[in-house]
Subunit: 579 residues, 2 copies
């Protein structure tokens, strides 16, 4: 029909010899090619509204099947759309519908029964009684198995009675595909777990070569379709989570017949050495930060508590059995606990602790949801060390030079002889002695603590507050050894405040805002200058630029006034650029 | 109490002077340290059951606060647990409960209204009528926005009437935070979308510089808390998905205040050049494979249909505006559509098509759920090219050497003079002419097709079947130019079968199993040898080893018998290792 049409020898096609179609329409009977609307020329004075009733002119030939999608171009009957045992993604649903597939057989979500046990364990409450251990493991484990595609079933808390534990396990094994028996699996006086497993089914292993998680139990009950796996999960949540991740996830994957989740991993450079035992495969929680294009992993203290570990951990690094550990600078594979994108968008704060860091995090994240703050409290000297190693984007410093009474400059000159950092104004803050509410002991100075029966709680060496305490002792001619508890070190102002509030210590040095948070008495010692150290390599990152904007905002000023004990002058101003 | 205890000067502690505690118990009144049970020595003849009532001996002193976790070691009151606008992970739930937080304010899931439009569009059905276009976009888009944390609301299909479209948009804008108006946004006769958006609210953009997805529309309606974003989404699903990903996801993220999902990306090496227009940012769907440690991206044909694109695509590569495209060997960032772990565990099959590849995929995945198969049909020569470039793990080959009548050896010797590949036996299969059921035209050979009014459909150059067709013509002294449709090339046996079944061609060469699948007549031409080419670099991968196990299994043999047209001798046997 269009054969031979060219720019000089156009072909005119009469109405009736062509049919108007839309993209996606089936090819009408008797047609074998489609001409694009852009290539159609209408008779003088007419337009697209006359299409179908007017002749049209074509200046180029169209080959048979031109602009026609062939039947079967996409997928043909008999070709396999998806293999079995795959997760059906949204696009695959569309593909199935396009191929006329209206129904698919699916695998039922595996049921995971979770049995909390323990005489001392109670349901979570806002006001626990002394001695109560709140049962939140079942909440964590439920969330984990739900993420993997299983259905959690949480059973009531079971007391430490062998027959109660056994019948709870029996019931859960009857009702579920996998049973998690939580706590009671370490070798203490409450160890009924392995007995219960052995009585209900078969005890396969008690104790596995991983750390944390050593005392885990593995067993099974029932047969065929009614078979259940039983996992004894240690009660300490940090261990429990590792065991659930290592033992329960593969079970869920086996039942689902496919991978349970992404399990994104990255190669990270270790910021500190991390020793390990030859006896176990060890799982170390790490914080991650992307600084200067390098992903840096900082192992969290292995004794770290529940909250810290799992709110602060960005990933889990595995150190193989038979390895003595890793050196600083070595790289290791880290399995991520949050998306890498979030980690790459985190402002890595390593330095002196101040509650204002949390406030900055909040203000920054609220304004730029993709940005977040990952802060580690290692004191002012820690900020300097981290910046030298290229591991932080910024860090708080308040280092008093005893010779001049000035803050920070002497330290930065000494540690960065070649420059490469900026000293940025943040706030001035009240340091003093936090004491019991109303100061019942009438403590007026550190000298009052060098008395029998009075106790002190200190900050760690290298922190600006410790330097201040040491300096104050020296000025007053006090021998620190005469102060009971001077060697007891804590890492944050709030940790010190907590111990004073709990009556474990009579006083501790710290900032006013921490004392206020805990309703403590406060004996002012001095006002100090709290600056931020920002290495040049971090200056142009969106995170640091966002930080500076937050510092300069009215919202920050208002928040500091609410916290109390701060004087805000020109936060965000560069005091000095060390070149 | 334990002061001075050593191996030579043990200390005996009387009952009443100690209290038995479990891990996790609070420190009892009057105590300041915990001794581990392993360090306690009982009096002669007694054991742990007497603890609490017997004296115990300690051979080492324990420091005050030894084995005691301090209050506040984990987290202190006043410290920030989580900033606002974060997704609460399971461990964070535990952390909140541990910290006594029972309730949190959450952000409501954004409601995303989806309006399918079009006169020709019908709800999906297993038996569509000719001309029906099945509406499955709303299923795909629902799944996508649900994955991001939004709640989809699918409205009934709206006919192409301006007032119907307008009132549907108005209703959805009243009820939802985001409105997707699907189809009708390309400049065809059905373009009511932009008008409807302009009438209900404000039309911001019509047409954006991305491809596919150019005709997208962006608008808004309402104000304040009642404001809605309106997105006109192209009807062609491949374009629609890109537009939803590029425009709707950021809107959902904005409403949620946090990142919507992982969006894992990888650096991949391009297997083929990929040209692009300077005018648009172009999104190219790619298949990915990890071969020899390198992640290789193969762009999918841009004309690829819905099903193929979104079942086969592993990721989306973006080529920036102002770039003319990428060369083979260049690396590019690819945003993943499935977890990288799955991609790394895929057997990359590039070579000749046979439905048995699908069967192998099914058998392999069923047995090893972590393994999968990614196959691309590019013909036998394509298998050789891919192996030379290091891009596949295996590929089907059935290359007839006209001189000897042998299969594959001559080709492998020629193309791998230095060796590096294995030729592995797979199956023998019937090749022949697929014809209409019952062979009404009485076609007996290719010669019968060289007649006026008869048509043929061919396979692409480089495929073993094409070589066989060319060889058969030569043997019979037929000039291929005399066969109508000899130049019409399809890429798979099933695509050829589909066209014969649809009556678009009277015959096409292909394998028996494809003819059987479509209930076609079949005129045998010869039995050919279908081998697998496996490069040495891929041999030791778990995927190739699993493939070999599948080939050697009874299940494979049984399945081949069911498909029909195959002779199975010793599949998995190495015919020859080219060194």
């Amino acid at each position: 029909m269009t054969f031979g049409a060219t720019a000089t020898t156009p072909v005119v096609v009469q109405p009736g010899d062509y049919v108007v179609v839309d993209t996606g329409d089936p090819l009408p009977e008797g047609c074998d090619a489609v001409v694009m609307i852009e290539d159609v020329v209408y008779p003088e004075g007419l337009d697209a509204s006359s299409l179908g009733t007017c002749p049209v002119t074509l200046f180029a030939a169209i080959a048979p099947w031109g602009n026609v999608r062939q039947i079967g171009e996409d997928i043909c009957a008999g070709e396999m759309l998806l293999t079995s045992n795959v997760r059906v993604a949204p696009a695959a649903m569309g593909a199935m519908l396009a191929a006329g597939v209206q129904e698919v057989e699916v695998i039922a979500r595996p049921r995971v029964g979770i049995i909390p046990t323990g005489d001392e364990v109670v349901a979570p409450s806002a006001n626990p009684q002394p001695g109560d251990v709140m049962e939140f493991n079942s909440t964590i484990f439920s969330g984990m198995v739900r993420q993997w595609g299983a259905e959690p079933v949480v059973y009531p808390i079971v007391k430490d009675k062998p027959d109660l534990v056994r019948s709870a396990v029996q019931r859960a094994a009857d009702e579920c595909d996998i049973v998690l028996l939580n706590a009671g699996s370490s070798a203490g006086r409450d160890d009924y777990s392995s007995r219960a497993v052995a009585e209900v089914g078969e005890l396969l292993y008690h104790g596995i070569a991983i750390k944390p998680g050593k005392p885990a139990i593995l067993g099974c009950a029932g047969e065929g379709a009614g078979a259940s796996a039983i996992v004894g999960v240690p009660g300490y949540p940090v261990s429990g989570i590792i065991v659930v991740e290592q033992l329960v996830k593969p079970l869920v994957e086996h039942l689902l017949g496919c991978s349970a989740d992404h399990a994104e991993t990255v190669e990270a450079t270790l910021a500190r050495p991390c020793m390990s035992s030859l006896k176990y495969e060890e799982f170390v929680r790490v914080r991650l930060g992307v600084v200067g294009g390098k992903t840096v992993a900082t192992p969290l203290s292995r004794g770290a508590g529940v909250v810290t570990s799992f709110v602060k951990a960005d990933g889990i690094m595995s150190i193989p059995q038979n390895s003595e550990g890793l050196e600083a600078g070595q790289t290791a594979k880290v399995s991520l606990l949050r998306p890498f994108e979030d980690i790459a968008n985190s402002l890595v704060v390593i330095g002196s602790h101040d509650p204002l860091i949390d406030e900055v995090a909040q203000l920054m994240h609220a304004r730029w949801p993709k940005l977040s703050v990952a802060s580690t409290h290692v004191g002012s000297m820690g900020a300097i060390v981290a910046a030298k190693r290229g591991e932080n984007h910024c860090g708080g410093i308040h280092l008093l030079d005893e010779a001049t009474g000035e803050y920070n400059e002497a330290y930065l000159e000494k540690h960065f002889p070649k420059g490469g950092v900026r000293q940025v104004e943040c706030v001035y803050r009240q340091q003093g002695l936090m004491v019991a509410p109303g100061n019942p002991l009438g403590i007026g100075s550190l000298a009052d603590l060098a008395q029998d029966g009075r106790s002190y709680v200190n900050r760690q060496k290298g922190s600006g507050t410790r330097i201040l305490a040491d300096y104050t002792c020296k000025q007053a001619g006090i021998d620190p050894a005469t102060i009971y508890g001077y060697d007891h070190e804590e890492f944050t102002h709030t940790a010190v405040a907590t111990l004073v509030a709990a009556g474990s210590a009579d006083a501790g040095m710290g900032i006013y805002s921490a004392a206020k948070m805990y309703g403590l008495g406060f004996v002012p010692v001095c006002e100090e200058q709290y600056d931020l150290l920002i290495p040049d390599y971090a200056w142009d990152t969106p995170m640091v630029q966002a930080l500076l904007e937050v510092l300069r905002s009215d919202a920050f000023r208002t928040r500091m006034e609410q916290l109390g004990g701060y004087r805000v002058d020109q936060p965000g101003r560069i005091r000095r650029h060390y070149k």
